[in-house]
Symmetry: C2
Subunit: 505 residues, 2 copies
């Protein structure tokens, strides 16, 4: 057991007594008074409460895409008891709050809701604990710990949390969004790794649910922790988590494989799974327009992997395939590359794939991770984070492409993403020279049409980014029975509706 | 896509209207009148409702351990609409019901609660659909489909649901209990495989939650399906599920490895995970007393794997280790056996393990699966299904053994189970000749002490069997905050408390 110094966000069994919260006027939606903010300031230590005007809060109320969502206040708890003090204050004052991890999410779930007077509870100081239990193969971490720090600590024991992302989110943020990433096909989403949680409920007592268990299996009635995983900070505040972690891989083989069509992409995948499912750790699509954008905006220090410049005569799809193994038995990477070569050859003989380039992971992954920024540089864009059953992925993609001509005639389409698990990041880019009103009109029409299309394909508009004000309108297209049940849960756990920027009603 | 003929338990979006349920007298706990049972009979087809006295219901109201829990009625729905009719009837009549799958659970969760007038909804006829989607690597199945039939259908596509059990439960029962089994260490519990569910809520309208999705990632607010997984049939009736499935393994290597002590068991495990985590598909303990019982009650047709009779000079622990691979590359089983040999040699040189016997899976697994019946034949027993953090497993086991002398001086102790994931089946056996009252007194004292001990070790009394009347008293020792939240969920989803044999309050 390695235990870092400092305080863990640990729970105390505070037995709920009769309400002791001061009564507050019923003024939902109004901003806290200066007196109320003074009381908040007194509850926490110096520098833990930031007030706009007095303090610079731009890095909290501006999201990763540069969108400003003004906050009435920012509170930075150090530990569980600070979080509970803030919640009791907010409950009494009917002050609304949004919990923020590393502020890396793209759906506005971690910043105040437009038009509401909300504050931000930033968990960035709540990072005292990274407690690795090697024999249990778990780590207990405070909510504010970031993924890179967590993996640095784990690597010292030969372990890793195998969530591969372009960003560096916090533990609490990853759990609240149920993050996916590029290794989901082998290692699953964040939910799969969560064994335990510590959660503060937004009630009068700031009740703590002591779910911080280290058990791989535990079935004693409805498992409450799953309510908070992937719920975008709407039902409770996650202050710590126990995560099951994996041994670090020792060998990795990567290749870019060119596929002729969607059917080839899926059949190659199915063959890889039948013959090497335990090693298949990534199956990532880069479609031709995305690869072209990357070639035009290649980040400095990244080498173009092909012997030719640009993207001349490739088939329409490139797949980044990765096999990884925990041991170097059987010849290690060479052996994994041999396996991959055999499977590519078999697929080529059936016409599923056309060509392949082997390369080191450090050469090929930066290309994949460069996709979103390269597309950003092509012009104003709208991106969708969708997932559909794999078997319908390319049929759905054809329908999406047909939409462009109809609903957004000035847009170009590019996509990439985790097709191995049915995920696709669909991106639409408009020319910079198009008049803004015209572009916004097309974007709005496209958004509506995309949400309809995804729903009709039994898909989701939020595969791995979570629910936020950004995509909330899509949410309203789905089953009223589900929304009704979600709203009932919201009312149960957050009776004064003080928590979160998502409207679950 | 393979689609079997017949009806799927499909949902219909019935928009909840104002309550149309006939008002019923408030008599919770009383048996339905003959008139009420006649109405139920009329709602369903001939032979779908069984009435004690008129029909033989012993196979429904007697559990897998032969315990009788008399039912007032048994209803056997054919499909979703039958389930909804039963629920609407039960809601109106305030008739309590328990949902039963294949009746294989050992905690009395699928039979009526003692002292209550409950009926049984057997899902055995609701098995029309097994719909395999090869490209999506999923199967959609009706709740009453049994695991063996499911895996027969999947095997035709080279796929499997890798839940390894001694029993043959139904899909709905496995989901409701969140079953674990012997391959959890590699393949996870049932929850990990559930992508979608169709659930009927026990409300006036028998509302259907249309959660039957086929997506590997989907995050649009709180994920309701997780409320019903592992909730022992307390919140809703599962009528169909979508399960992610795996390619069938092509090669398997198994060995029995003798370990010197608990520390050796854990260090050997950690080495296996560091070097072969993607292949390690079972790590099962048979302690010496369990192996002795197996040797005395060897099922016919099973060969004793050792060159000597009985269990002479073995170290105290035998581990059944299994490595499996989806391909026969690298020499297949021979190669997996070579890997295992290397890792055993390394562990032996460090004193963690002492000896090893390689054998075919068909030779070694029957020994492991014979454990519980062999112990049953040794005398009256009490068994616990516990799980603790792996790192504390053998410390906890020492404490359990110390309990025997103190609380149950006439009992012998034996154990076995899924130690790779922190699970242990702890079994206490009394001599047949001991006076029954004395045994029952010891059993009661032991049960209390075991539940205290497991709670103190941050463990669970229900690792994989689920919560039922059998172990409900343990449940009351845990956090009041958690039980309060579970009770609130129960009140939300089952306002008239008509569902289940577990008391969530």
């Amino acid at each position: 057991m390695h235990r870092s110094t400092g305080r863990l966000c640990r729970y105390h069994n505070v037995v709920a007594a009769a309400s002791s919260a001061p009564s507050a006027p019923d003024r939902p939606g109004s901003a806290p008074t200066p007196e109320a903010l003074s009381r908040l300031d007194e509850l926490l230590g110096p520098g833990q409460v930031l007030i706009p005007g007095r303090d610079d809060i731009i890095r909290y109320d501006t999201d990763v895409l540069g969108r400003r969502s003004p906050a009435c206040w920012v509170a930075r708890p150090n530990d569980l008891e600070d979080v509970r003090s803030i919640v009791r204050w907010a409950y009494a004052e009917r002050a609304e709050l949004v919990v923020q991890g590393a502020n890396t999410g793209p759906v506005l779930a971690g910043v105040p809701r437009a038009g509401r007077h909300q504050g931000i509870v930033s968990m960035e100081l709540c990072r005292s604990t990274i407690d690795v239990d090697v024999l249990n193969r778990t780590v207990t971490a405070s909510a504010g710990v970031d993924l890179a720090s967590l993996n640095d600590a784990l690597a010292r024991s030969g372990l890793t949390l195998p969530i591969d992302l372009g960003a560096n989110p916090s533990v609490g943020g990853m759990v609240a969004a149920n993050t996916g990433g590029a290794r989901l096909i082998r290692h699953g989403d964040v939910r799969r790794h969560v064994l335990g949680l510590e959660v503060v409920l937004p009630d009068a007592h700031a009740t703590v649910l002591p779910l911080l268990r280290r058990l791989r299996k535990d079935n004693r009635g409805p498992d409450l922790k799953h309510l908070f995983i992937g719920s975008s900070g709407t039902l409770g505040i996650i202050t710590a988590a126990v995560l099951a972690v994996d041994p670090l891989p020792r060998d990795v083989a990567t290749a870019l494989v060119a596929a002729n069509d969607g059917s080839g992409v899926l059949h190659f995948l199915t063959l890889l799974e039948a013959r090497a499912v335990e090693h298949l750790s990534a199956y990532e699509l880069l479609s031709r327009p995305t690869l072209e954008a990357i070639s035009r905006h290649l980040p400095s220090g990244i080498r173009w992997p092909f012997e030719f410049p640009g993207v001349p005569d490739l088939p329409p799809f490139l797949i980044l395939v990765e096999l990884s193994a925990s041991d170097s038995a059987h010849g290690g990477r060479q052996s994994l590359e041999d396996d991959l070569t055999t499977l590519i050859d078999q697929s080529a003989s059936r016409g599923w794939v056309a060509d392949a380039w082997f390369g080191r992971p450090t050469t090929l992954w930066p290309l994949r991770h460069a996709a979103i920024n390269a597309l950003h540089q092509e012009g104003p864009m709208v991106a969708f984070d969708l997932s559909v059953p794999r078997s319908q992925l390319f049929e759905t993609r054809d329908q999406i492409i047909a939409l462009v001509a109809d609903r957004a005639p000035h847009a170009r389409y590019a996509d990439f993403g985790h097709v191995g698990d049915g995920g696709l990041h669909s991106v639409f880019i408009w020319p910079r020279e198009l008049r803004v009103e015209r572009r916004l009109r097309e974007q709005e029409r496209l958004r509506e049409a995309m949400y309809e299309l995804i729903a009709a394909a039994d898909g989701t508009f939020s595969a791995e980014h979570g629910l936020g004000p950004e995509n909330e309108s899509a949410f309203r297209r789905y089953s009223p029975e589900i929304r009704h049940a979600q709203a009932a849960l919201k009312a149960l756990f957050d009776p004064r509706r003080i928590l979160g920027s998502v409207d679950l009603s």
